[in-house]
Symmetry: C2
Subunit: 462 residues, 2 copies
């Protein structure tokens, strides 16, 4: 790994700092930021959660073990008011998953069911495959062409640094299954929403549109999707038949929960600063990138501020439950904790370097925003939007008008790994993880010690 | 992909070549080499075999379909005397494969049985895991420490350009299971012999030493092996228990075969030039790198020489069966075809660029070797050994003293893919594949038109 440029810049900065300078909030944030570049807490949390718990699918006993682990870990780190807020949610679990081309070129393909997929009969179903190169092409197709067939939607995703491609390309996963059911398809398989070339399918949630009957829905690994495209092409006029077996099931209402820990502020009445991540993962991997690292980053940064001395405002660390399957944790928290927040932020986009700082806070808080931007600049972080910021679990709160900040992580390789069996600890670059901790430490230090009003903001107009 | 430097060098070469120069064998080879840089035949063969047949495990019906495909393809390309030479061999097939850490950190691990692995009971076996960082450390361990346990040998492989690391690191797979059985272990799992970080285990053959009882033997994917190392470390003094299920079985003697095709030479009595690859693949993937590409490269090159005009010597293209599981095809061929070869060569190391030309032929053939070296130089290929060369299927023939040439392919990423589910067409770089075809075309053109004696050579002393 090449040594990032910002390390050298910081060394210079440190050596020219004068010890007797009065400790303004900015100076303190800069000092804590520099110290955070040697952080080991974030990696230890990421390694511990992924190793000692492993996968932690929402609403399962594994997620319950993850909550126990989280409570013990957050207490041992010195956080106060460590607690779990439980909530109930419907749970879907994966079953057997197999796909085989029966004719004209017999072979097995690798896939994974999408969240809330319907099931085939236990012995599977056999049908002709009809392929489309994009969701738009599929939508335009006559229902009669699709009826009774296995629909295959293949649209190659292109990586973007800011992850914005997920909205566009991800539509095949989010909307494709409901459209397929409405058109009378027997099942749908999509090319994984991802940017890698490994035999690891990308799962992900999809929700059936109102009144739509669930059908089997799965994602082929990208090499398998490209193989199916070639099979369709080389088959010419011969029909391509697939035998598909998916046996997921709904196991009813189960318990999930959010794990909450605090750094109590000097002013217990001041609105709090929320530093969030999500604790649950998909079931295919240990979820190091998504989102153990986010929990490691935010907790490590909050601990650094705590260890330096009591901040003005309470910093509340929340490890949300049940994000992957529909933001259940974020929505439950929002219901239970209205009007408590000065500013909210979440880390849920891997562990690669932060490259941009976005915010959506009131004019009265702009001096704080400028201090944060200044503290982040030596880390190679540019100031981006000042009128928009978001997050996954905190998205609904942000949209409702709660002041929000966002440290944008580089997402160039995020969708190589996202929701696959490959989301494991070895994908974490410790040096980039530390840059994240440094950025979060500076932001939490400055926001938790700022006496200004951050909001409220008007709701986001869509 | 960056445009290789040699393209520019060749363009220069072509533009300065004078059309009226007499067509010496070297000039002809150079002309054919340059034309081969636009080859599409090798990619078409690689795509066709991997798409229309898919995996083709030795001795199975899939390998039989591959032979049918190969015969039709080689005939359609214009080769003569296209035929199959069958042979019988024992066949082992994969069953269910599951591994789960039961305590102290319950979670599933991903693995694949090694060739000829024994089976667990259908319901699996449960035992304590004992970990070793290398085969040497395991060998040195007291039997009493290992008895009844699941042995875990973890030794990270480091990539090498020439692939020589496979001998050293691969010992854990080849010898580990027999050593484990002798020491009384219940089973053995190794870290995959590979250099990637994906959840794709590397299978591969191992043969039980004389008198040793088969035990279950498998390879964990590299992220899973690293996970198991962390689990053992974080477990401290607590025993780590694994539940392992492997149900492979031996299905008895089955038929395999070598597919043979020829470019008949002007002198039917002259010893032939052998251009080889292997047709079978492991069962986990379509075997694009290993070794559909080798079949594409050698057949495309032989066709280019054929299409230019009848060579002096016969070029015999052989697509060997059953290489992966123990060189059955190569050994059968060697038995049936003694004393027929001028020179032999094989392509079985992926599809990345050729970087070195090795040979082991008689002094009388050194002028041909020098012409080949000169024709290869503009492709970025250096001359290497002149006293050693080999190949997989042709290895025993080479060792017996048959003159041999070898076009060494860059193996830096070969063991990222080797024997995993990830060995699929998308791993082939068409530009590097064409460089291989160009190199092979030059070599086949010069050897098949050389009237010199290539050997025989003394047997290789080990």
């Amino acid at each position: 790994m090449k040594k990032p440029i910002f390390i050298a810049a910081l060394a210079l900065l440190s050596s020219t700092a004068v010890a007797v300078t009065p400790a303004t909030p900015l100076k303190t944030a800069e000092m804590l930021r520099d110290a955070a570049l040697k952080d080991d807490v974030a990696f230890d949390i990421t390694e511990g959660l992924t190793t000692e718990v492993g996968q932690r699918m929402a609403g399962t006993e594994a997620e319950a073990r993850a909550r126990d682990w989280a409570v013990a870990k957050l207490k041992s780190l010195g956080f106060k008011n460590v607690r779990v807020e439980t909530f109930d949610m419907p749970v879907w679990v994966r079953g057997e998953e197999k796909a085989e081309i029966v004719a004209p070129f017999p072979q097995k393909l690798t896939l994974a069911a999408l969240g809330n997929s319907g099931a085939t009969p236990p012995e599977g179903l056999r049908a002709e495959v009809i392929g489309f190169d994009s969701l738009a092409e599929f939508q335009a197709a006559h229902d009669a062409l699709v009826k009774g067939k296995i629909v295959f939607v293949s649209h190659g995703m292109v990586p973007t640094q800011d992850g914005s491609g997920y909205g566009y390309y991800g539509a095949a996963r989010r909307q494709g299954p409901s459209i397929a059911s409405r058109k009378g398809a027997a099942a749908i398989v999509i090319r994984s929403i991802g940017t890698d070339h490994h035999r690891n399918p990308h799962t992900g949630v999809q929700s059936w549109a109102e009144g739509v009957t669930p059908i089997p829905a799965a994602a082929l690994s990208i090499p398998d999707a490209e193989q199916l495209q070639r099979i369709l092409k080389r088959a010419g006029n011969r029909p391509v038949t697939m035998h598909l077996t998916l046996t997921p099931r709904n196991i009813g209402i189960q318990q999930s929960g959010n794990v909450i820990a605090e750094v109590p502020g000097r002013d217990p009445k001041a609105p709090v600063v929320l530093a969030a991540c999500h604790l649950d993962s998909w079931d295919l991997a240990t979820g190091a990138f998504d989102d153990a690292a986010g929990c490691g980053i935010t907790a490590a940064a909050a601990k650094r501020v705590m260890d330096h001395g009591q901040p003005l405002r309470t910093i509340r660390v929340v490890w949300f439950g049940a994000e992957e399957v529909g933001l259940f944790g974020g929505l439950d928290y929002m219901r239970k904790h209205p009007n408590e927040h000065a500013v909210i932020a979440e880390s849920d986009f891997g562990a690669d370097r932060v490259w941009r700082f976005d915010s959506r806070v009131a004019q009265t808080a702009q001096p704080v925003v400028q201090d944060i931007a200044r503290a982040l600049a030596p880390l190679g972080i540019a100031q981006g939007f000042t009128d928009q910021a978001g997050g996954s679990d905190i998205g609904p709160m942000a949209a409702s008008g709660v002041p929000t900040m966002e440290l944008q992580q580089d997402g160039t390789r995020y969708f190589d790994i996202h929701h696959t069996p490959d989301d494991t600890l070895d994908k974490i670059d410790p040096e980039q993880l530390r840059q994240n901790v440094a950025a979060w430490t500076a932001m939490l230090s400055l926001t938790s010690n700022a006496a200004v009003e951050f909001g409220p903001m008007p709701p986001v107009q869509r």
